[in-house]
């Protein structure tokens, strides 16, 4: 079974390719990359005028299965991913029950094997029930095939326990993904603390609740010598702390989500609960700092933090609504609109942040179009525009912060291991 992609503009930073090239796919792998490949193939895709990149690796996705199949399932979430050009996701452990035991991870793996449309990697919980009290058994979870550890949604409050967790993760060569939030400082807030919280009459979440915990997590990771990753960075101060740590030579990785460089707290003045996310949308100054961090490489990864919720959890009073926005179907377009369209990042930079760097951080063999690699390929019309409409979303939930927005960049094809999993 052969598939040939012709005349696309291929961007593959791992192999220093940024130009017109053909790609031959055979048996799910990249068989050949080069100019004017004329091998006969069952399927030929004309990609002229299109950008061809290694499939997106989204390392922050809530698939909600098992336990909250009313919000999302592995099947629906990976379908949404494929539509968004995503070929690998890391499934977060805040499911019901959480991904803290071999049994539950085995159960999830079975569901993935049966229903996933793309590759799903599993993030195990740091603590039992994500309660921050007792560590899970990292070695056993690794045997079941987890790729990283996180208590995402919660931070491990105890310094002592977090240090232990980082040391255990190091031993197993697992990445620890830090949800850096001091819940006591966040004090039941629902929006960024400042003029917006005052104007809307809502409880504010201070920026300290994020950046003080980022500083702590980095300090503990350094002490343990462990690989740490800071999830969903939203504050100017957070970017600065990570920048300093990297300058000192500590290899922490950091991610931000599309809404933190495209939306600010001023956008939720009509109490739009789809823009109620955690961490909250910050000020315009923070948005600029996030962009600066993306440009200078401080933030090396972009991930969606896809967080599906049902209508009955979202179409209610703002302070009672759940936190989170879906993002798999919009992330690439928001990146193109905000970062490529504005000249802030080159395509080469973008592919690093959405495909190559997350693959490296997770230590998975993805994110490149090198010969012999899995044929995970996304083909994009970079200048085509579209408007985000509820009715077009394929995720089981429709809580997108970008509803009604016009975005640039449309996914034409998504291939996972050589199979076309999405076609526009």
């Amino acid at each position: 079974m052969k598939l040939l992609i012709k005349n696309g503009h291929m961007v593959d930073p791992a192999n220093k390719i940024d130009g017109i090239a053909d790609i031959l796919v055979e048996n799910g792998k990249i068989a050949k990359v080069g100019k004017d490949i004329n091998t006969a193939a069952e399927t030929v895709i004309d990609a002229s005028g299109k950008i061809v990149i290694p499939g997106i690796v989204d390392m922050h996705v809530h698939l909600r299965e098992p336990g909250r199949e009313d919000k999302e399932t592995v099947a629906s979430g990976t379908k949404a991913a494929a539509k968004g050009g995503v070929t690998s996701v890391l499934a977060m452990p805040n499911t019901l029950p959480s991904l803290d035991s071999q049994d539950i991870i085995r159960t999830l793996r079975d569901i993935i094997n049966k229903t996933a449309n793309i590759d799903v990697f599993i993030c195990g919980a740091i603590t039992i029930g994500r309660e921050g009290k007792a560590l899970t058994n990292a070695a056993m979870l690794k045997k079941e095939g987890i790729t990283a550890l996180s208590d995402d949604g919660s931070s491990v409050d105890s310094d002592e326990l977090m240090l232990k967790a980082l040391k255990a993760a190091k031993k197993e060569n697992l990445l620890v993904i830090c949800h850096s939030e001091d819940k006591a400082l966040a004090a039941k807030g629902v929006v960024n603390m400042g003029f917006t919280s005052t104007r809307l009459g809502l409880r504010g979440i201070s920026k300290e609740s994020e950046y003080e915990r980022i500083a702590r997590d980095i300090k503990l990771a350094e002490e343990a010598g462990a690989a740490a990753h800071i999830a969903h960075v939203s504050t100017l101060e957070g970017v600065e702390i990570i920048r300093k740590a990297r300058k000192k030579g500590f290899k922490v990785t950091a991610e931000t989500a599309p809404h933190y460089f495209s939306l600010s707290d001023e956008d939720l003045l009509d109490y739009n609960t789809n823009m109620k996310v955690n961490p909250p949308l910050r000020t315009k100054d923070d948005v600029l700092a996030i962009k600066e961090g993306l440009k200078d490489g401080t933030i090396d990864i972009i991930a969606s933090d896809h967080a599906p919720h049902t209508e009955s959890e979202k179409e209610i009073e703002f302070e009672r609504a759940e936190f989170g926005s879906i993002g798999l179907e919009t992330e690439l377009s928001v990146v193109i609109t905000e970062l490529a369209g504005t000249g802030l990042l080159t395509w080469n930079d973008i592919v690093k942040k959405i495909s190559l760097n997350p693959a490296k951080a997770l230590n998975i063999d993805k994110g490149t179009l090198g010969q012999g690699k899995d044929a995970d390929i996304t083909i994009i019309s970079p200048d085509k525009e579209w408007v985000v409409k509820k009715s077009d979303l394929v995720s089981k939930s429709r809580n997108s912060a970008f509803l009604g927005r016009k975005l640039k960049g449309v996914v034409e094809y998504t291939l996972c291991k050589g199979k076309v999993v999405y076609k526009a």
Binding site: T196, S197, L200, L202, G204, Y271, E317, V387, V388, S391
Partner: protein
């Protein structure tokens, strides 16, 4: 009735004073002048809202605002239905949107909503086609209270422009403060907010007010002081000053009014806590307009009900494209 020829009311709902123009507010205040006269007549009723149904939907206990709206609606000959909802158990029972849609299906014309969550009225207005009047949402806005405060100030002083108004008390958790600030600043009044620092919300200066924690300094140049009700029973009140300490440092007392500008107007949205934020002598004294505010509140709410029921833009507003 004095109708302004140039002004047209174009709002299906009254959600807050932030989104109203100075002209919108003037229209309501001018209309309220006419309605205020009706309240002194022997027969205090006009047929402006005959055949309309007004629903008081209250998720928070409130006697005075509800009664004021009820009286206002009845003076306009509307039919009034009162619904009090226990909202102590969050997420149990019917959602606010569903309740609103049911009231709409009962063919009511206006919902007057009091709710403990900020933004509740905004959300409801987005989801029903009938009019929504915000009678107080969380810490966000209480537009009719601010309108009646402004009406009373204008009645007493003749103008709002250049007037020095202090708002004293728990600014952080006060919808009355926010609505007053939006409204008064639109008229060029100089607004000072005065409270212990812990009760000043972040970024409030951006609303165009001066901030101080010195009550005597605030009162010195004030033409009027709006005294907010202090609620020491809040669940997040651990950082609050004690009641005694508060009265000592911020209470509106005879000694303080003595030192203030002569004839300073003392207002309070009620219900008052005697000896907590205001002394009995001042509450009942010659500077106080607290009971006049209550009467004026009916006239202002009649004006709001009148214009909202006249709204012609039901089909334009809140068209969402997705």
């Amino acid at each position: 009735m004095t109708k302004k020829k140039t002004t047209k009311w174009a709002h299906k709902d009254l959600l807050g004073l932030e989104e109203l123009s100075r002209e919108d507010i003037e229209l309501i205040l001018d209309t309220a002048v006419s309605f205020r006269e009706i309240l002194d007549r022997k027969i205090k009723k006009v047929p402006a809202l005959r055949g309309k149904t007004v629903v008081n939907l209250f998720y928070e206990p409130s006697t005075r605002t509800r009664v004021s709206f009820e009286v206002a609606a009845k003076r306009l000959s509307a039919d009034v239905i009162n619904i009090a909802v226990e909202s102590s158990s969050v997420r149990k029972g019917e959602t606010l949107n569903d309740t609103g849609k049911n009231i709409e299906a009962l063919k009511a014309d206006i919902i007057i909503l009091r709710h403990n969550c900020s933004g509740a009225a905004t959300m409801l207005a987005r989801n029903v086609n009938i009019s929504v009047i915000n009678a107080g949402d969380g810490w966000h806005e209480h537009p009719t209270q601010a309108l009646l405060d402004m009406f009373t100030l204008r009645q007493k002083t003749g103008k709002l422009e250049g007037l020095n108004v202090s708002i004293v008390g728990d600014i952080a958790h006060s919808r009355v403060a926010r609505s007053n600030i939006w409204g008064l600043t639109k008229f060029g009044a100089n607004v000072t907010v005065c409270a212990p620092r812990i009760l000043i919300p972040p970024g409030i200066e951006k609303m165009g007010v001066r901030v101080t924690d010195d009550i005597d300094e605030a009162l010195k140049e004030s033409d009027a002081v709006n005294v907010l009700r202090m609620q020491f029973e809040r669940d997040d009140s651990k950082a609050f000053p004690s009641q005694l300490e508060y009265f000592k440092n911020f209470g509106i007392t005879e000694e303080r009014i003595e030192k203030a500008r002569k004839g300073i107007i003392v207002m309070h949205p009620g219900p008052i806590n005697r000896g907590v934020e205001i002394s009995s002598g001042i509450a009942d004294g010659e500077n106080s307009v607290i009971l006049e505010q209550v009467t004026n509140g009916i006239a202002v709410r009649m004006a709001v009900l009148f214009w909202v029921s006249q709204a012609k833009d039901k089909d334009i507003k809140n068209e969402i494209t997705y």
